[in-house]
């Protein structure tokens, strides 16, 4: 059993323990859940140490027979892209569980078990090299997230949960049909065999759109983003963090792993269209975020805008932009995850998220305000913080291929500064008048402990991003060569 399997199994074992041993106290449940996720994080670090950064191909392969009748295997391997996202997942999950211990008082056991299963499924999505296995675990991520939103969410949780489920299921089933079609062509579900297929352009078109249906909903690309603001707003804090941090990346990852290399001709054909949709999403998300009165909704729409940058960079189809969009996936996971955590902390204190209810909080909760400011600045791509090293090369790379799109998208970055700083100003600046605001307690040591690792990474990646770039770049180049756009465009100095 290789390290990938271990990383996937550790959370599963934790979930099974929680399900089977009914006599655990709340404290013990917390320990088991936290222990399992930390163990998974350690396992993923071991994976990183085993990983050969100079090799652009899928490596550390593990395979076992699953359904011999249809030639399906349980096969895992990682490249730089998937490893970066696995690390992001295993890093965020313990923090999410830790942050939930105070806010989730009802049925914490079920909540933790759902998160552990979700983590395992997500890692399996990133690591699967059998496309049927990929489809199965991709769909499987829906169920625990549905429960997390639906059971532990806010007032309008049922609507949000069902909407989330149906949107993502519909996309996933369209992909499943395409996968079966590919299987009938290739005779197996192995990713390597799929790459060898010689598909006609009209076949590629249909398959491209079937796969895109699944990924576009997950990312989400405008105009199929409408489930996201609802899901984000209604989900409990942990759910929002995980959704923004990890689940949205499943779609972007799928685009890079499957959509681009398997349907190269169709990709090159439709890339301009997707760049266009990405720009609309960037501007639309930013403008709608400006108008929100609920700060969580604001961040939810900012996610639409930020994921638009990821799509833009991916379909710019050059090494600079596409590598940067993988980096931006990680960055968005950290920054938006941290923002949702802070919003959660604030909500636990005040039980409201209306920006108008706050004002002048900076004096009452200076630590919270400080963290909030750093994270906001990271999210709006201030140089020196992680957001910049993602967004700037995306715009640079895109400018080489689609100048107009890059210029329009830059306005998205400007708007991001506007809505994030304006929200910061309205919440933390101004006179501290109301008694409720004055009585708001500052962050506890536990909360500081949760947010510090995130902020540390935000700063570290901002100052010294090359380890992350070095990890993903060879794999991105491999993907682009497989897509038939082998050009490698390197920028002199610039972002790196």
């Amino acid at each position: 059993m290789g390290m990938i399997t271990v990383t996937i199994l550790l959370p599963v074992i934790g979930a099974v323990l929680l399900a089977v041993v009914r006599s655990l106290t709340v404290k013990q449940v917390q320990t088991v859940a936290f222990g399992a996720t930390v163990a998974a994080f350690v396992a993923s670090l071991v994976l990183l140490s085993q990983f050969d950064r100079t090799n652009p191909n899928l490596q550390l392969t593990e395979a076992a027979n699953w359904i011999p009748a249809v030639n399906a295997q349980i096969a895992f391997a990682v490249d730089g892209i998937s490893l970066a996202l696995i690390l992001l997942t295993t890093f965020l999950t313990p923090l999410v569980l830790l942050a939930s211990t105070s806010s989730i008082t009802d049925r914490f056991r079920g909540y933790a078990a759902a998160f552990l299963l979700l983590e395992a499924a997500v890692i399996a999505v990133f690591a699967a090299t059998d496309i049927l296995l990929f489809a199965v675990v991709f769909e499987l991520t829906i169920v625990p997230m549905y429960l997390i939103i639906g059971i532990w969410g806010g007032a309008n949780r049922r609507y949000a949960a069902v909407k989330f489920f149906l949107y993502t299921l519909a996309g996933g089933l369209a992909m499943l049909v395409a996968i079966v079609y590919l299987y009938t062509k290739a005779g197996s579900f192995a990713y390597a065999d799929m790459l060898q297929l010689d598909l006609t352009l009209s076949e590629q078109r249909w398959l491209f759109f079937a796969f895109l249906a699944a990924f576009a909903v997950k990312i989400p690309i405008w105009p199929v983003h409408t489930w996201l603001p609802d899901a984000h707003t209604e989900a409990p804090t942990g759910g929002s963090v995980f959704l923004a941090g990890v689940l949205l990346k499943l779609g972007a990852f799928g685009v890079l792993r499957y959509l681009l290399p398997l349907f190269a001709d169709a990709t090159r054909l439709y890339a301009p269209w997707l760049v266009g949709f990405a720009v609309v999403g960037i501007l639309y998300g930013a403008i709608v975020a400006l108008m929100q009165s609920d700060v969580k909704k604001l961040v939810a729409y900012s996610s639409v805008s930020h994921m638009g940058f990821v799509v833009l960079g991916t379909f710019a189809l050059n090494t600079t932009a596409t590598s940067a969009s993988v980096v931006q996936m990680v960055n968005h996971g950290l920054s938006t995850g941290a923002l949702f955590l802070l919003i959660g902390f604030l909500y636990e204190r005040r039980h409201t998220r209306q920006i108008a209810a706050f004002g002048g909080l900076g004096a009452a909760v200076p630590v919270l305000a400080g963290f909030w400011l750093i994270v906001s600045l990271s999210s709006l791509a201030l140089p020196g913080l992680n957001g910049f090293v993602g967004e700037f090369p995306i715009l640079m790379g895109t400018f080489a291929s689609y100048p107009t799109a890059a210029v329009l998208a830059s306005f998205g970055a400007v708007l991001a500064a506007l809505y994030l700083l304006w929200a910061y100003q309205r919440i933390f600046h101004g006179p501290l008048v109301s008694d409720e605001n004055r009585a708001t307690p500052d962050m506890t040591r536990r909360e500081i402990g949760i947010i510090t690792p995130l902020v540390a990474l935000i700063i570290a990646i901002g100052i010294y991003p090359s380890p992350l770039f070095n990890l993903v770049e060879p794999s991105v180049e491999r993907v682009l060569i497989e897509t038939g756009v082998g050009e490698t465009m390197t920028l002199g100095g610039g972002a790196r």
Binding site: I67, E139, V143, L169, L176, V177, V180
Partner: protein, 543 residues
Amino acid sequence: MNSSDIQIPDVIWSAFAPELLVTAIALALLLVAITRGQTLRVTGPVAALGVGTGIALIVAGSAVAGVVTAVVTASLAGASVLYPRRASIVQAVGAVGAAAGALALTVWQFTSVVTNDVGVFTPQGAFFDSLANDGLALFARFTVYLVVLIVIPLGYGYMRDRELNRAEVEPLVLFAAVGMVALATANDFITVFVALEVFSLALYVLAGSARRDRRSQEASLKYFILGAVASAILLYGMALIYVATGTLALPVIGDILGIAVTNRTVALFGIALITVGVTFKVALVPFHLWVADVYQGAPSNITAFMAAATKVAGFALLLRIYLVAFPAFVDVWAPVLAVLAAASMLYGAYVAVSQHDLVRMMAYSSITHAGYVTIGVVAVTDTGLASVMFYLFTYALTTLLTFGALIAIERSRRGEVTLNTIVGLGRTDPWLAAMLSVGLLSLAGVPLTAGFIGKFMVFRAGIESGWLWLVIIGVLSSVVAAYFYLRIAGMMFLNEPVNDAVRPAYGQVMRVVISLAAVAVIVIGVLPSAILDMADTLAVMLR
């Protein structure tokens, strides 16, 4: 067959050993019903006879059949001794024993067939070729008897609660099962018709077994009248095929239709009428009108039996008629069936969304599932055949699981189960809510459940044979269907219980049976290989 036992010329008794056992036990149980509590008066002699026969069989060299006969009859007598004045328990034990024995005999048939011929099976005729003992028959046996084995314990407490623990129920269920299996083995039109009527008549009575419930009476009468009309149409179709070909034997019909073109119009009319009759039984749109009322009105355990087993028998018949007798007309009937399948998938899902009563919703959901299965039929390949068998098997299991949970809820309610009934069930009874959710997720086709693999196999067969549009409709229907399955799960888990919260009633046996079914659904969903391989093996064994 090499291992055949008592050799009477021309009749290979071992070829339908399971049916013989089940029929014998069913007759014995009918006698038990008239003993007024003195059950040992019947079961004693039956056991003596059974053990005697068993010993004779063992001596004659057929150990498995002998042991099964002896054990099943002896356990019947044992139940009489343990529960002297409880005829209902004796009957339930007898029915479960018969089903278990029949399953054992089916497995014995399967293994002896496969081992004797080293994997290459020449499907055999029995009873002067009017029965075909092939892969399809073995599949139907296995599934139908398994359904009986599960459905008897599910219904026992429920029937007692509703005070309809009538003596005729178990024997009728057994007769219906024999009829269904006979239908799946039937190799000429006469046998088809007789088998169809055997199980249909039993089901008409069973549907009305809640005599004081007007809805049950209505269900029975509707099912009877519509079923009789469908049977008549089917019979007319058979007559036309006879006119066209001059024979009733399915393989011969297949040969003649393949070469003769003179009576093409008559044959087409015949096929059309037979299609109406058969699709009525499997409830494809537009011949589905009976389903909702019958499912809702019939006692829920009978509904579970109908939903799980009738589909198996109906599709076995459909496969055999179309693949064996009408392969020459595949260009005609495949598109027709495809259109019916598409209509069923869309209409069933569309109407199910607006249902408030859960059993009614299950009825419309069963229509969509009939549509999915039909994709595998119109594929007309071994893959398609295997996918149909796999789907039907997993569907039967999932349906029993779901209905098992619904029965437990209904028992406490003494009335219909609606969406409001189950609000907050996740709080009041997390175990049952989890079991029901497993069933619903499998019906919705969520990964790691048997339902996902079933849908996957059917879609795969469809795409391989070029039915891409049909598969796309299947996917659309799945999304709609996911909504109403999910709504039930949502009602249970996402809502807080109201004051008069439902407290489901079930005994230990029911708990074990439901748990086992849920475990099976998940295990098949995670590691489907064993069942898939079996379906593949059986598919190439079609006569």
